[in-house]
Symmetry: C2
Subunit: 429 residues, 2 copies
């Protein structure tokens, strides 16, 4: 046995007990926070937003330390960009908190109320989930964003950011704590795990007695690793392998606009299209209209045998291509013989995120909307609309690929659960 | 290396691939089943109920094999009783299926519908969860019960019963399959895992690509083991450590009836009371009224120092006692000085299942109902009402101690999720 083993065991135990202690404090804070009025929660958010603005220089300074360290460590340009807090991004952070503060109280109103045959009065009332753990990667603005969403919905938040953003996240967390205290909310309402040790994350995932849900915000690799190891329920966000199906008899100009938008407007996001299906009856005129437009926008096209016969110079799409979320200007195209084939393909190769049909047939639209088993299904619209803001939720906690609890775009309501309040007059069984 | 290792590895791989295949078939069946009308699902259930009645002798015969094997294996009397299908229990099974068939369609009606600022029409519609895995212990009637609840809600069911009930469960599953086919539903809508190998259960818990939720039905040991190892989301049902708090100024006769009912009417169930809290102002008259009544019913009383001073002959309750779900005629009693102390105690020692206050004060009732963080909270009623049937759900899938997805008694609605159906007229971002 190595001589360092006992030390390392002690160290692990130390990290575990520290994390357990933080979680217990979060649980206690969550009980008090659940009883605070919406007014008080929103006032705290407005204080925080003001402080973000007044402390912009402090935040920028802390962030510069991270960016400098990232540069030395050889982080890619894209990662450095995500890590950087410009004055505009700091203002956007503050403005985002103001918006959340102004949203309606997600805890307001009973879900249902009824009287049982024995005369018990039951109300099903909304309450916060309790303690929400959020594990995220490099972008430090997530710290403020998630804290605001949790506070507004009455949840205590436990935040674990990436180690490359530790100075930025700590500066934001300090500011949050100060204003949370000043507003009279429980001081442990938002806590940042400052340990960047991976054992801290592992310990967090085992605290199912004190954490109610874990929301990972990051790529599929992060989400899968967390879902694999977590004892705490996880709201997952896996890939978006989104389809657009152009039906026989579709308005081809409309279909071209929708497909172009779904692929090109912002290719790096989960609701962008990865696979295009087109009915054989319209494949030639449609692809002859769309393919040059996509290529002009820099999209690399791959295709099935039949679409390759229509569009010259396309690379053949492999089975792997149909199952890949490129998040890039790459599109795989397939010609299908029927609506049935399209639906089967989407259910088989898609990821259940967002899928669209473009059609003039009400009947075909209804079949697609009903039979495609995805969180969001579209008739004659771009898949790019799968988004909490576009849906009108006023905020977006994430987009869930879970089937339980929350599915699709999550707003503040999806950070709540319920309890049953039962009133009797001496009722016994 | 042992010579049997390669064999055993092959065998494990065989079990894993068999389970994966069963799960894939369940997923395919779930897609078709989700499109079947309530009428067709209910008709299938009525057929199944008729067949349970007409095949009662076959079921009893298969069951006798299990009971005989259990007797030889030395199963306890209680376990043998749970395993046994009497004619009355077979009739109750059929009657239960008839009741589920007659319930309203849990998939009916949109949850919400709205038009976004950009003019997209959004409907949030109910759909089945998809594939529900149920893992349970000895009672074979669970096989029919769970299959009926899943079918009625449009879910494909994967059932894994205990090995001691394998002949009974197989006979019930054969009958289910035959009638499901005859009714024109997908044949794989309900599948029983016939392998009693524990590796089959382990393999099942890893199928997160094809199973949407696992519901364990059994003791806390089973539930914990499953929650620990499952990659599939689990709806948990842990202990019910339920409290009754008798407030100062409560109607003591009412309080005595409620406490007696909560403890004695059916002590072996999760919504029975385990801990009794009583305000110091009424502790003496109340305990002098209740203690003899409980003892006469055979209840063993344990208490804090102050309650021991009032009720002679009580054993002192340990910290362990307050945290134990006895499911038996044992009650721990504590005198508290305030409503605050009672609420803190319940939130600390309780399991968040069901807790009651008996009081004449509206204000104290509202504080208890609001501040006790349990799935069901009661004013002047017995905790024994936490039950899907008593709540009026018409069926009970289980009682969830999860905070996400479903909390408290689960009816058919809790076996559903939703999707967003979005209709546009060529909308792009």
């Amino acid at each position: 046995m190595s001589t360092s083993a006992p030390d390392s065991v002690d160290e692990t135990a130390g990290i575990e007990s520290e994390v357990a202690d933080i979680c217990r404090r979060a649980r206690a804070a969550s009980r008090r926070l659940a009883l605070v009025s919406d007014r008080q929660r929103s006032d705290a958010l407005l204080r925080i937003a003001r402080r973000v603005r007044s402390d912009a220089a402090t935040l920028a300074h802390a962030n510069a330390v991270d960016v400098e360290a990232g540069r030395s460590a050889g982080l890619s340009g894209a990662l450095l960009d995500r890590l950087t807090l410009t004055p505009e991004r700091i203002e956007a952070m503050a403005a985002g908190i103001d918006v959340v503060a102004a949203l309606p109280d997600p805890l307001d109103g009973a879900i249902a109320e009824w009287t049982t045959v024995r005369g018990l009065e039951i109300s099903q009332v909304r309450i916060p989930l309790g303690v929400v753990g959020v594990i995220y990667e490099s972008r430090p603005n997530v710290t403020a964003d998630v804290a605001a969403l949790c506070l507004k919905s009455g949840n205590a938040a436990l935040l674990k950011g990436g180690k490359e953003a530790i100075h930025s996240n700590s500066a934001i967390a300090d500011l949050l704590s100060a204003e949370i205290c000043a507003a009279g909310l429980p001081p442990d309402s938002v806590q940042l795990l400052r340990s960047t040790d991976r054992r801290a994350t592992k310990a967090l995932l085992r605290q199912d007695a004190t954490i109610d849900v874990i929301i990972p915000r990051g790529g599929p690799g992060l989400v899968r690793a967390i879902a694999e190891h977590s004892r705490v329920p996880v709201i997952r966000h896996y890939e978006g392998i989104c389809h657009t199906y152009v039906d026989a008899g579709a308005d081809l100009a409309m279909a071209s606009d929708i497909a172009f938008n779904a692929k090109v407007q912002r290719p790096g996001v989960c609701n962008a299209m990865e696979n295009l299906l087109v009915h054989a009856d319209v494949a030639r005129p449609f692809l002859e209209m769309l393919a040059p437009r996509l290529r002009e926008a820099g999209v690399e096209l791959r295709g099935c045998e039949r679409s390759c016969a229509i569009v010259p110079g396309m690379r053949a799409a492999s089975d792997e291509d149909w199952r890949t979320e490129y998040l890039d200007l790459i599109l795989s195209i397939k010609v299908v013989d029927s609506l049935d084939e399209a639906i089967l393909f989407v259910n088989d190769y898609g990821s259940g995120h967002s899928d669209a049909i473009v059609t003039r047939s009400r009947e075909n639209a209804e079949r697609f909307l009903r039979e495609v088993d995805s969180a969001t299904v579209y008739e004659n619209a771009s898949t790019r609309f799968t988004d909490g803001f576009e849906f009108g939720f006023g905020a977006e906690v994430g987009i869930s690929t879970n089937r339980i609890h929350a599915r699709g775009p999550m707003g503040l309501r999806e950070l709540t659960t319920y309890k049953y309040v039962v009133r009797g007059q001496g009722h016994v069984r």
